[in-house]
């Protein structure tokens, strides 16, 4: 199943946020979206996932989702969005409650998702008892439970410390390789984009337009190797040079707002 951003334009009142953004996320492909602060990255993701109505243009799907997918477009949120009154297990089961699945089928899906994220021993724990990294693992586990075709990830690591970020990044790489899922990965961190994405969509300052689409010229599995680091760093520098001046302007604008 492909996800297509088709001429998406969005305004919040008088404020133009996105301007004619079009690109396609192919089946199993990981596309990162980067750009200066306030360029509409998260807004674009909300529109792609059907949580926000664009002013014009539309998100579209091409092809059928995998047969076992219960929610083809599934979000992983920056702030985890866990129900604080529910245990880890209940949080992961939450999106399955309204489906036609039997209790046994739900249990099996929850078990599998908890196992894949290493949360089996924490099933009865409440979110407030977990670290930030573990909470995000619950968010990922919940997303995996519905067998998504495409994960929509809104800065999923930005609220975490650098060590946890590194560990979760390794998990993402493994899960994306295992699950045959595609992903749209919104981030301001160019290193994350370069390590995870097949292609990187670079947005301009607000109103966000596509400045460039950069293809990452190596297999994801090979990017952790020492030899690849230099190439990835060069790629990050290339993207940074595209957005640096606009990022400075955007930051000043935010400070003066």
């Amino acid at each position: 199943m492909d996800l297509i951003a088709s001429h998406i334009t969005h305004r919040f009142g008088d404020l133009a946020v996105l301007d004619d953004v079009s690109f396609t996320v192919g089946a199993g492909e990981v596309v990162a979206i980067v750009g200066p602060s306030g360029c509409g990255k998260s807004t674009l993701l909300s529109i792609l996932g059907g949580l926000l109505q664009p002013t014009s243009g539309a998100p579209e799907l091409r092809g059928a989702p995998p047969a076992d997918s219960l929610n083809p477009l599934t979000f992983v949120f920056q702030d985890f969005a866990l129900l604080p009154w529910a245990t880890v297990e209940e949080n992961v089961e939450f999106p399955l409650l309204h489906t036609q699945l039997s209790a046994a089928q739900r249990r099996a899906l929850v078990e599998d998702a908890l196992c894949r994220t290493g949360l089996t021993d924490f099933r009865q724990t409440y979110p407030k008892q977990l670290s930030g990294g573990m909470r995000q693992r619950v968010g990922i586990s919940r997303a995996l439970a519905v067998r998504p075709a495409i994960l929509l990830m809104d800065e999923p690591l930005s609220a975490l410390d650098s060590q946890t970020r590194e560990l979760l990044m390794e998990d993402f790489i493994r899960l994306l390789a295992d699950g045959g899922m595609g992903a749209v990965y919104v981030t301001h961190n160019l290193e994350e984009a370069a390590r995870l994405a097949d292609r990187i969509v670079v947005l301009s300052r607000r109103p966000g337009r596509i400045r460039e689409v950069v293809t990452v010229p190596m297999a994801r599995a090979a990017r952790g190797e020492a030899a690849a680091r230099e190439k990835l760093l060069a790629l990050q520098n290339q993207i940074w040079s595209l957005i640096r001046n606009e990022a400075i302007d955007a930051e000043r604008e935010v400070q003066h707002a």
Partner: protein
């Protein structure tokens, strides 16, 4: 730019001094028995002052006289007669007001139309002292239990509705969007996300409405009732039976304490995740 390196002439052999601790205070912790000890002390002083004849018993009877009055009321059966009448009014009035308040509060929290209409009416009617409506309610509903129960229900309704819609408004929007992103149906979002998310505010509202109900039942019973704690207190005051009057006040205080404990227990059971 600061450049202190050149002027800092501290010799390594100078004596050290400890950094003064300045982070104390602003963390009030209550002692477990402090409150009870203070209460016991006040009662003891009160009793001693009364027994020594320092205070006129007509104006302020001793605690032992009040306990005696409660005992006599209990033995004669009058205590239960008055307490049961008040409890019935509070129970029915509170339940009716709470049920209506929760329903209207959720409607205001979830529907644009209900919000536009509901908030206007609540803003206009909430400030009216509900006891002022009792004569009108007597006119409408007769002189039986109904106007007293309706007064309590009205008082409870407004506070409940306000705390419920405030609670619904305070449910983190990201949780609702998360549920929507999984195509969770509206009714399930209300049941599994909004209800538990609003529950802390709703239970806090219950604490307030329990006090409102107590206040209104006493006021309503003072205006037009033969039985009930309010009627009993008024009657005792008219007859200058201050020991009985204060017995009624103590019973009201105990009732308030019990309600507070019940709500505290509910909070512990239902909000253990906090």
């Amino acid at each position: 730019m600061l450049d202190r390196a050149a002027t800092d002439t501290t010799a390594k052999n100078e004596p050290t001094r400890r950094v003064h601790f300045r982070g104390a205070g602003f963390v009030p912790a209550s002692s477990r028995y402090g409150g009870w000890i203070a209460l016991g002390l006040v009662i003891a002083i009160w009793q001693a002052a009364g027994s020594a004849g320092l205070v006129n018993a007509l104006f302020l009877p001793t605690p032992s006289a009040i306990v005696r009055a409660i005992y006599q009321l209990a033995v004669s059966g009058a205590l239960w007669q008055h307490v049961s009448a008040s409890l019935l009014r509070i129970g029915v009035g509170w339940l009716l007001g709470t049920a209506a308040g929760v329903a209207v509060g959720f409607a205001i929290g979830l529907s644009r139309l209900a919000r536009s209409v509901g908030i206007t009416f609540i803003s206009a009617l909430f400030p009216i002292p509900k006891i002022a409506l009792l004569p009108l309610l007597i006119l409408w509903l007769g002189i039986g239990e109904e106007p007293k129960i309706a007064t309590i229900a009205l008082g409870v309704f407004f506070s409940t509705a306000i705390s419920v819609y405030s609670g619904v408004d305070a449910v983190p929007r990201n949780l609702i969007r998360m549920a929507q992103s999984f195509n969770v149906p509206f009714a399930t979002i209300v049941r599994k996300v909004i209800w538990p998310g609003a529950l802390p505010a709703i239970l806090a509202g219950f604490r307030i409405t329990a006090s409102v109900a107590l206040l209104l039942v006493v006021s309503a019973e003072m205006i037009g009732a033969q039985y009930g704690i309010g009627a009993f207190v008024l009657q005792a005051g008219n007859l200058m039976q201050t020991d009985q009057l204060l017995a009624g006040v103590v019973i009201l205080s105990v009732f308030g304490l019990v309600v507070g404990k019940v709500i505290g227990w509910l909070e512990m059971r239902l909000l253990h995740w906090r």
